[in-house]
């Protein structure tokens, strides 16, 4: 009893540590109150103290991006361009601590999978790539092809992309949930002997549990495709100042910064899962397949519910 209490408190501590790391880092984008039409998203929760402390810093960084774009137009020297690149990277890193940008999807995906730390790095940079391409495509298309009021057009385009994104997230979640639950039934099926059942289960599970490149790309596409309004605004500003190269540099570095943050969140999820399994192993004298299943099914379930709820809230 004492032993189980001890391990319980250790796991609680671990859970709290993950909570501290992840709380306030996830969520979904809300519409721009000024340029959208309609009220706030039906699924939204308020800002947390930790994030709000960053606001003054982000405000001056945002001003700086626009200011640097102007400087680049005046003097075509490498100085302002380098400054823009580093300010953009910082903006990406800190801005991505907010919602959207794929943190929920990444962390739950890695809970549901048998992932290595490098997978979170790959996922972060795939997201960066998808995001940069998506933001550039949408802004350029609105600027050159649609030619209406940009800020209004951008809100409508974002909403469409976002609906697609949540739908894709729900599908990925559903797929993984079915996979995880079926994996369990399978191992419960033919059970000739305790030792053999264990091996058998391992063999079956490792097949679907391993992270594939295609899955990583799917996750990156679903989460990175929604253009960040800040990144899009800086591209627009550069376009209207006739310094397109600066826009490409800025959005690339913002996306890389975002990817970095997402990678760290993904790595935190991978380490958290390992920690939980290790703690449960310590109290059991072996990795418990029940604990693993619970974490994985919960990860897939949260991903599915998250995608579904936000998908429905779009209508």
């Amino acid at each position: 009893m004492r032993n189980s209490l001890l391990s319980l408190s250790r796991r609680t501590l671990l859970a709290l540590a993950v909570a501290a790391a992840c709380a306030g880092f996830a969520g979904a984008e809300s519409p721009n109150p000024f340029t959208s039409s309609g009220g706030p998203s039906r699924v939204a929760a308020p800002a947390m103290l930790g994030i709000s402390g960053l606001a003054p810093f982000l405000h001056s960084l945002t001003d700086r991006l626009a200011e640097l774009a102007r400087q680049i137009r005046e003097a075509r020297t490498p100085g302002p361009m380098l400054a823009l690149a580093s300010a953009s990277l910082l903006y990406g890193v800190f801005h991505a601590l907010g919602p959207g940008h794929g943190k929920t999807i990444i962390s739950t995906f890695f809970l549901a999978k048998e992932a290595k730390l490098r997978h979170s790095l790959i996922a972060g940079y795939l997201i960066a790539l998808v995001h940069a391409v998506s933001a550039l495509t949408i802004v350029l298309a609105l600027f050159f092809l649609v030619r209406g009021v940009f800020s209004t057009g951008f809100e409508s385009a974002s909403r469409i992309v976002q609906t697609f994104s949540f739908g894709a997230i729900a599908l990925i979640g559903a797929f993984m949930l079915v996979q995880r639950i079926r994996g369990r039934e399978h191992s419960h099926g033919g059970r000739p002997g305790p030792g053999k059942a264990h091996d058998h289960e391992h063999e079956f599970e490792s097949g679907t549990r391993k992270v594939t490149g295609r899955e990583l790309f799917g996750v990156a596409l679903a989460s990175g495709v929604v253009p960040c309004p800040g990144a899009s605004a800086i591209i627009l500003v550069c376009l209207s100042l006739n310094v397109m190269l600066a826009g490409v540099v800025a959005v690339t570095l913002i996306s890389l910064g975002m990817g970095l943050t997402v990678s760290v969140i993904g790595a935190a999820a991978i380490l958290a899962k390992r920690g939980v399994l290790k703690a449960s192993a310590a109290s059991h004298g072996g990795v418990s397949s029940l604990a693993r299943r619970i974490v994985e099914i919960a990860g897939a379930a949260v991903l599915f519910v998250f995608g579904l709820v936000f998908f429905i809230a779009q209508f």
Binding site: S36, D63, S151, S240, V302
Partner: protein, 199 residues
Amino acid sequence: MRGASRAALAILVALVPALGLHAHPHVFISNRVAVAFEENSLAKISVEWTFDELFSQMIIADYDVGKKGSFTEAEAEALRKGAFDNLRNYHYFLAFYIGGKRVDLPPIKDFKPSIRDGKLVYAFSLPFAIPITAAERELRITIYDDTYYVAFDKMSPSDVAVGSADSIDTTVSIEKTKVKAEWPGQFMPDQVVLRMKRK
């Protein structure tokens, strides 16, 4: 028992990333408020928002069609429709409390967008008729976007201008909010507090 507590914890860990739902700021606003009195009542509150440069540039590029660095009447009207009126769905980020009770938002008047030092500025006012008597009245104002798409800079008393009124004593302060948080750890902005009474 062991299994149940372990399951509960594992689910908690898995759910944690989804708990922190909140919106982060994309638009930043420096906010100023002016209060005007008439006879023995508070008659008008004017609000002025100065936007961050990125949002400013986007809106200016959209609506300053003539590229003159200012808005014509027609441009201002288009801007009001395209980038202001929708705020009615967000009660214009304003909430007024008199004596601890929230009061209805008066209609928004005199909306005027302008460009100052390259930054977008919105000005508008709200008519009030709050009688001021010898007993002190407390008006608390919250200026906050609870979706947190917009972040308002922290205010100081110097951001609040109080119009002259010979017969009314007014003190201005920025105080911790009295609005209750809905979530543990929720960010709640300070309130502008006006305490007014007849001399």
